[in-house]
Symmetry: C2
Subunit: 242 residues, 2 copies
């Protein structure tokens, strides 16, 4: 087997310390024991450095994370994580059993498609003064589904709060062991921890979600989740370091 | 190898004729030649039949599609599609090469996480009178990224239109052959066609996206995409049949 120079080069992650999608990729590299370089892209400074011409050339989507790996540039964190899993040795990030794999992907997609896009920076910036309320609403809806009673003051949030599809807590109650799916760390755990971090930033009450809370507490102790945490990245501002 | 009764039973798709995520699953079944039963869930009637107690028991997420297959119930269309691909014979829905697989997942996730969630029924219902504008904005942003100049009259759409991350058209320009990635139909194509159908419903001008338009035209001629079309499902209302 030939290894080209490009495959021997370290992957480069263009990310942002606080982006939950960037954090997912950092966890995956850490779990696999893959060394990588980080190029910080500041989503706030100068109106968003991801909009500069240089970054546009690299990533036509101007979205973090973008990963240069094996001679290609990939975006979309779940695509990157599964590529890392399929091409690198180390612990599996998806189980071998197809049904368990499907459960891992269902939980990952629920977070990546059903919750995160509705509370990300770009969308909540559109919401102006309502942004905290909007983010809380969509995180609660994703965590608990129809059982959430909205505490919002605004009628449009209250009125529609019963129309709430995905529900992470009841699913995890069924699938989890020590981790999201049984007792093996997987892509689902990689998605869960950054989503809970976002929930905390938006002051969502985690006491309502005992399974999510328990899993998050267990996972946060693990080395790969600690070293990749937003509080200790190269671009973490001094005042947020912990 | 033992096949249990549950594996021999036909899968059951709980879906809605016009839900793009339900359509994705119908295309996957059709491409694989898998027979399945459909149980329609009306997202509009009676305030949304997916909110009934019966459906809640089946799918704690109250979101279509939910698929009963091989004794388990799965939601999240990409998880379902990959489960079908990994457990059923017939044409591959993801390429064998890891880099190509990553491109297919990147395009699929861009649509499933970066575009569809921001223009789905639940979110646009929150937008009231602005719903057409909101949906167009997020579809244009997803198709073209930063090159789109918003035609919106509302300042919050114009002001932020430069902050536009994903970009399907430039990616497909690079990856496509006859189909989204080279010359093999994949999960990326399964995601593309229903997203273009949504774009048309929200009166997005497709002339701006020549690659998307070309691929969609080619794919729409294919049997699996035709038989699964929203215009000819068991729950399609008479006036929308075509």
């Amino acid at each position: 087997m030939h290894l080209s120079l490009v495959q021997l080069a370290k992957p480069v992650l263009h990310g942002y310390f606080r982006s939950s999608c960037s954090w997912r990729v950092r966890i995956a590299f850490a779990l696999k024991g893959v060394e990588f370089d980080q190029v910080p892209v500041n989503l706030i400074k100068d109106g968003g450095q991801q909009l500069t011409e240089q970054y546009k050339t690299l990533n036509p989507m101007q979205q973090v994370p973008a990963v240069e790996i094996d001679g290609i540039t990939l975006s979309q964190s779940l695509a990157v994580i599964q590529y890392i899993d399929e091409t690198r040795p180390g612990p599996r990030l998806l189980p071998a059993d197809p049904k368990k794999r499907a459960q891992v992907r269902m939980i990952s997609d629920l977070i990546a498609s059903g919750i995160q896009p509705l509370q990300n920076l770009y969308v909540i910036q559109k919401m102006g003064a309502e942004k905290m309320q909007w983010a809380q609403h969509f995180i609660d809806r994703g965590f608990q589904g129809w059982r959430v009673s909205s505490t919002s003051q605004s009628s449009r949030y209250v009125t529609l709060s019963h129309l709430s599809p995905p529900a992470l807590e009841p699913i995890l109650k069924e699938t989890s062991g020590t981790y999201c799916v049984d007792d093996e760390i997987s892509m689902a755990d990689i998605c869960l921890v950054p989503q809970v971090y976002n929930a905390e930033r938006f002051k969502v009450d985690l006491e309502k979600y005992p399974t999510i809370k328990r899993l998050n507490q267990t996972l946060r102790e693990i080395e790969a989740f600690r070293v990749s945490h937003p509080s200790c990245q190269p671009d973490t501002p001094e005042e947020l370091r912990g």
